[in-house]
């Protein structure tokens, strides 16, 4: 268990469950055009068909479009936005936190104040404002999510850089006369990265939730059928067609749950002190 590269997967049932669910979702997203019974935008049947009738496994919507196909295609939007926004937030967080931790002193102070501000303000209000001002699109959604998601990453990156700054291998590099940026990038960063990546992986779940809320409010890319958008459409007719809201919502929950399970499993794996101890 300890030495196999997949050992960590088996090390915890949470990680295993998360990995399986997530792998399933990725396969669905990649194979969407092949496995999806219909095009999500095509009107292929009667409107308001309940689940399990007329060939609709999960029912049809107000225009007779297939809910199942919408969910299958929606997985692409959710996973892509979640991943892209997290990578962008990771980049911002690493730069801000890394610079703050590496230089410390005044730079650190100023950057941490900025981080604090971004952590305090109602981030969702800022996110929807950004999307609205810069017009709804995939790019504006990803940017808005990244802009509000980087602070926790920056704080952790700062802490890691601060902690590693005075270690022996860094002192050795300093006395060898290597330039600061080189030390930061080649010595500190690789060692600081693992916990930051784990935190960022949990950020994918938050990003998916944010994307779904933005789309739910009708601010997503109008050309993409995402899960949040489907629920936003379904909510006005929830009394007549519960399936239009329920199934896409379950899809979001499964995706978020999968990532949270995986992230927590990884977290337990890299901080063994907490393993089996106090965690819910």
């Amino acid at each position: 268990m300890k030495h196999s590269p997949f050992g960590f997967v088996a090390s915890s049932s949470k990680t295993l469950a998360g990995t399986c669910l997530l792998a399933g979702l990725v396969v669905i997203a990649l194979a969407a055009p092949v496995i999806s019974p219909n095009d999500p935008w095509d009107m292929v049947g009667r409107p308001f068909t309940p689940p399990l009738s007329d060939g609709f496994l999960l029912g049809s919507d107000t225009l007779g479009r297939d809910i199942l196909s919408g969910i299958i295609h929606g997985s692409r939007v959710s996973l892509f936005v979640g991943l892209a926004a997290t990578v962008a937030a990771l980049a911002i967080g690493l730069v801000v936190g890394g610079v703050a931790g590496f230089f410390s002193g005044r730079v650190d102070n100023a950057l941490m104040r900025l981080t604090e501000i971004f952590q305090t303000i109602p981030s969702f209000v800022l996110a929807i404002m950004l999307v609205a001002v810069f017009q709804p699109s995939l790019a504006s959604t990803i940017t808005a999510i990244a802009v509000v998601s980087w602070p926790p990453i920056a704080r952790l990156a700062r802490a890691e850089f601060l902690a590693k700054r005075n270690l022996e291998y860094v002192s050795a590099a300093v006395s060898a006369g290597r330039p600061g940026w080189d030390i930061a990038l080649r010595e500190i960063l690789p060692n600081a990265l693992p916990p930051i990546i784990v935190m960022a992986s949990l950020g994918v779940a938050t990003a998916i939730l944010l994307e779904s809320a933005i789309s739910f409010l009708g601010l997503g890319d109008p050309n993409l059928a995402s899960w949040g958008y489907m629920i936003g459409v379904g909510r006005t007719v929830i009394r007549q067609a519960w399936w239009m809201s329920v199934f896409p919502g379950l899809a979001i929950m499964v995706a978020v749950l999968a990532i949270n399970l995986l992230g927590e499993g990884l977290n337990d794996a890299i901080s063994p002190s907490q393993r089996g101890g106090a965690k819910a």
Partner: protein, 324 residues
């Protein structure tokens, strides 16, 4: 003296937040695609020339950026958050009218989350690793993964559509003529679903936090001592454990105040709750930017206000800290 310093620190933090948020608003108007005047008018090109000219004059839009900034802050200092051309009303009035509803919703949600979170967290910790613990942990995990609007819709589906217990939309029965008590009961009935919806996500977080903190504290020597002295379990939990276990919950609650206010936007939209979140959503659909920015500023001030409250609460509960 220490109290004065900590109050000063809080105030400076509050000022910094307000400064930052107003700067973001200022920058957004000028970074948005198109003419800043038409952004301020919120009409995407449809506002009449006269009004646009008036806006340019008022905000100094054809003058250097520093002059614009000066004019902007001069207006803010007079509590002028701009004018909604759509609604033909000052933004301040629109927000002031709806702010009490949002405060009612967020504070109720916060109270419910705290009660549920602490209760379930304590129950899980005291029943560590048996079925109660597992059930609470699973429920918290599922709730934590549910988008707040979805939780709301599911509650509407169950408690409003199927069971018919609570109304799904609005904040009070319109045109009803109740006495005072009847009116309070009526408003409570409308408050239940939105407040519970908003609370559940945080209840999940607080449950996990309380459980973790409880388990930590239960292993402390002073708890063992209390047990050895033969104190009844409820006294130990109440007097020794819970007080310490609450501290991380309060800390996180303060840090999440911004999320709570953001969540209110979504919940108010789902339940047609007439607060500033619903106002923001309507403004969003109409691209009424002055209203949006006003909501952003005021909701940020709300967060600062929540932070001050949690800071005070921390001081009340922390046995080791007097007033630092």
């Amino acid at each position: 003296m220490r109290t004065a310093i900590s109050t000063l620190r809080l105030l400076s933090q509050a000022l910094l937040i307000i400064l930052a948020v107003s700067l973001i608003n200022f920058a957004l108007v000028r970074l948005a695609p198109g003419d800043p005047a038409s952004v301020l008018a919120g009409q995407s090109g449809a506002a009449d020339e006269l009004y646009l000219a008036q806006l340019r004059e008022q905000f100094g839009l054809d003058q250097p950026i520093l002059v614009q900034l000066g004019k902007y802050y001069l207006q803010l200092l007079q509590f002028d958050l701009g004018y909604s051309y759509r609604q033909q009303l000052p933004v301040v009035n629109l927000i002031a009218e709806r702010l009490p509803n949002t405060l009612l919703l967020t504070l109720s949600a916060f109270a419910i989350a705290l009660i549920l979170g602490v209760a379930f967290g304590v129950a899980a910790a005291l029943n560590r690793d048996n079925w109660i613990d597992t059930a609470v942990g699973t429920a918290a995990m599922v709730l934590y993964a549910s988008p707040v609007f979805f939780t709301g819709l599911m509650l509407i589906l169950v408690f409003s559509v199927f069971l018919g217990w609570f109304p799904a939309f609005g904040s009070e029965t319109i045109g009803a003529d109740y006495g005072f008590i009847g009116q309070v009961a009526d408003r409570l009935k409308y408050l239940v679903l939105p407040a519970v919806t908003l609370s559940l996500l945080y209840a999940a977080t607080y449950t996990r936090l309380t459980r973790t903190a409880m388990l930590d504290v239960l292993q402390m020597d002073y708890v063992k001592l209390a047990r050895a002295k033969g104190l009844p379990p409820f006294r130990i939990v109440g007097a020794h454990v819970l007080r310490n276990a609450l501290l991380p919950v309060i800390t996180i609650a303060g840090m999440q105040a911004g999320h709570l206010v953001g969540g209110a936007v979504v919940v108010e939209t789902v339940f047609a709750w007439p607060g500033i979140g619903r106002l923001a959503f309507d403004a969003l659909l109409q691209r009424d930017y002055p209203v949006l920015m006003g909501v952003f500023l005021i909701s940020s001030i709300m967060v600062v206000f929540f932070n001050i409250i949690t800071d005070l609460a921390y001081k009340v509960f922390d046995p080791t800290m007097e007033v630092s």
